[in-house]
Symmetry: C2
Subunit: 479 residues, 2 copies
Amino acid sequence: MQEESVLKKEDNFSVWYNEILKRAKILDVRYPVKGVYVWYPYGLKLRNLIYGILRTLMDDEHEEVLFPLLIRRDELLKEKEHIKGFEEEVFWVTHGGTTELDVPLALRPTSETAMYPIFKVWIRSHRDLPIRVYQIVNTFRYETKHTRPLIRLREITSFKEAHTAHASREEAETQINKAIAIYRNFFDQLAVPYVITKRPDWDKFPGAEYTIAFDTLMPDGRTMQIATLHMLGENFAHTFDIRYEAEDGSSRFVNQTCYGISERCVAAVIAIHGDDRGLVLPPRVAPIQVVIVPIIFSSTGDTPSEKVKEACNAIYNELKGAGIRVFLDDSPDRPGAKYYYWEMKGVPLRIELGPRDLTNVSCTFVRRDNFAKRQVPLNTVVQSVNKTLDDIQHCLHARAMQKLKICAINGDTEPKDAIREGIIALPLCDNESCGKKLEESIGANVLGEVLYAAAHRARRNACAICAREGEDVLVARTY
Amino acid sequence: MQEESVLKKEDNFSVWYNEILKRAKILDVRYPVKGVYVWYPYGLKLRNLIYGILRTLMDDEHEEVLFPLLIRRDELLKEKEHIKGFEEEVFWVTHGGTTELDVPLALRPTSETAMYPIFKVWIRSHRDLPIRVYQIVNTFRYETKHTRPLIRLREITSFKEAHTAHASREEAETQINKAIAIYRNFFDQLAVPYVITKRPDWDKFPGAEYTIAFDTLMPDGRTMQIATLHMLGENFAHTFDIRYEAEDGSSRFVNQTCYGISERCVAAVIAIHGDDRGLVLPPRVAPIQVVIVPIIFSSTGDTPSEKVKEACNAIYNELKGAGIRVFLDDSPDRPGAKYYYWEMKGVPLRIELGPRDLTNVSCTFVRRDNFAKRQVPLNTVVQSVNKTLDDIQHCLHARAMQKLKICAINGDTEPKDAIREGIIALPLCDNESCGKKLEESIGANVLGEVLYAAAHRARRNACAICAREGEDVLVARTY
């Protein structure tokens, strides 16, 4: 344990982010292939806790499946819009051993074309519907832009993709709304704030009728897309001939949706809550929720030391018994070095216990989010820990919500200036040329028509470019 | 639910196996790429429960990590013995989009060459040792032989591979023994019997000093390798230059081990316990441990039906509350169709409850393993279920153990005849030519020197081929 230079998150977020992934042992970036990384044990525990929440939410109405990684070239090429969106981004397997394959195989960039030929054989009648499945898998994109750990990768190690098929368009629409509710619940549990927009037509998922997206605001004032939902309508059903026999005996195409979340959700948790001392993890997903640090001065003789150790062990066992993820740091390092280390690791609550605490039959709580210290009687430790963890969870959420600023452009602010602070809201018509013109003029992207955002309304409804009638859209510089 | 023809497991195991994967919805084999399959929800639940046990066992002394799928060609080629073993089996990614890659990338066939360059940077001093990590990942082999679901695949979807590094050879040997204990515990929980042997030198893992393997006996009299452990010694440490500073300041190479289990463990559970009616799942890993079937005759009027439903709901809630994986089948199908269906799915225990049971304030238990029926008072259902599930678990294990026959060859039996029944034990010297001669003469494989097997000792110790002094080895026809 060696104290390293302080990281200034506000000064240079990008440097802070890379440094924190390394120091807190989330990812090792030294793997010798561009855009792919190694998950350290601590990082993977964080990932698994986050995906555990997602899995529980999904399991309520979806079934988990697992489809192969390899997709035949001819299947991938079937949906013409779809492949146009991916053809420059697909990794191709061309050889098995020293033999050239008959048909090149793609590493899935996403699984529509892997799943839907099988949906075709799974679905016969209306009784087979709806199908609601999901999988959590590695997916691949040949990113040629600058790659960034967890954010822009060549191997997305944990892409949660859900795919559904329904008897009617209405049911598919309802499913999209249910999925939005699931995703809201998920990001709320991560204390990650978001806006929800309907992406402009020129930015929708290749092959979809429309795309809805969740974006969060990163500390550098840019937004990051953290979830997408796609109404596929009958597009893929026609391509892959997915039909069912309706109750009246007629043969109909299914209506489909798909929606996904990648490990950007982990990036968001790290980026949004962290501070200059390192990670700050929401209790719900912290691999270690409480660290206990015994304060033992070698000068005070043996008896108090032993009693301190005993008391720490007792707290440890009590908390563990109550299902709290607790760690007792009884290493020989100085307490100061331990504080530094566990703060960097983002542990939400530290319990210090020394001879003075023991005299008061209490211990000291130190919160990671605001560094508030207080004495807590030993006989109320479990309930106090639970209460404090809940409070930290809520405070982190509230603090993050406040930082997600949306500036409504009402004539008195220049979009170009406001965009430097975060997201702006202004009216825009649905004309692609107006959207592109706006994007170019302020160097930002139209996220889309607002479906959910706290406090964003602009006062006008005239398109910011052509002055025809428009709808409020959100605009931001994006990742 | 449609009743299909009875499957005869003993008559043609291979047909039975493929048919059961389909009927019980474990895997869909219709995916249009050779050797890769689709996990159905039910199959995946079974897989997840099995791997959950493995994960819990591993987590005790290992840390979970996640390394990339893609391995640079030059890294994969570094260890000469290693690549010789894999060069005909590796899938190669050669293109990203329409661009040819500078360096072809292999899909990991196993992760030594992905992990060990990173071990080199993780390990500096003796304080960094031991390293004990594992990951559960998809791995790829370009199998040219006949592929079989879960057994011989091109995408192994869940390869659990552990890799360790130690300061000394002794510690590495100790680790191998610990891992053997973990694997024994794992297969015991699956009620899967096994023999453990040290593979002959000509059949060890490429790059290892020696290999220890677990094999189980399949219903067709062939053995299937279900786990391997490899002592790597300093071989890979020299190739990848993995050294540490010892306490005395000297620089030393680490000693390494690795050991793995693939989804063949799922195949073993299905193959060993199943019968002519379908799957028979050990309660520990059954996605549904108990199915409740209400017996409702439409002719008996409303009142008894309602009471039966109420009683079934009450049992369901009680069992669920006790943490038992229970399903209440209140579909309109006939009870007989339900029995047929849930027997095929391998549910260990069925609870039937009809008006007559209700009169006796009891219900009827029907065991999947032996079809024994008994009345159980309603007020003892939870404890009776727990006791019965435990008993089924033990009975399945005992029954499977009895089927793993080892025939000691003592002069009175011909190896060629005995090998048709299963595993034979006979003495063999360590000369490769004797081994190969034996293998050819009886059309079977030497599994290796016996480390663990119930009742196998041969009475002689003269090599079956050359009559020089030999050690007992096991021999079998293998998958």
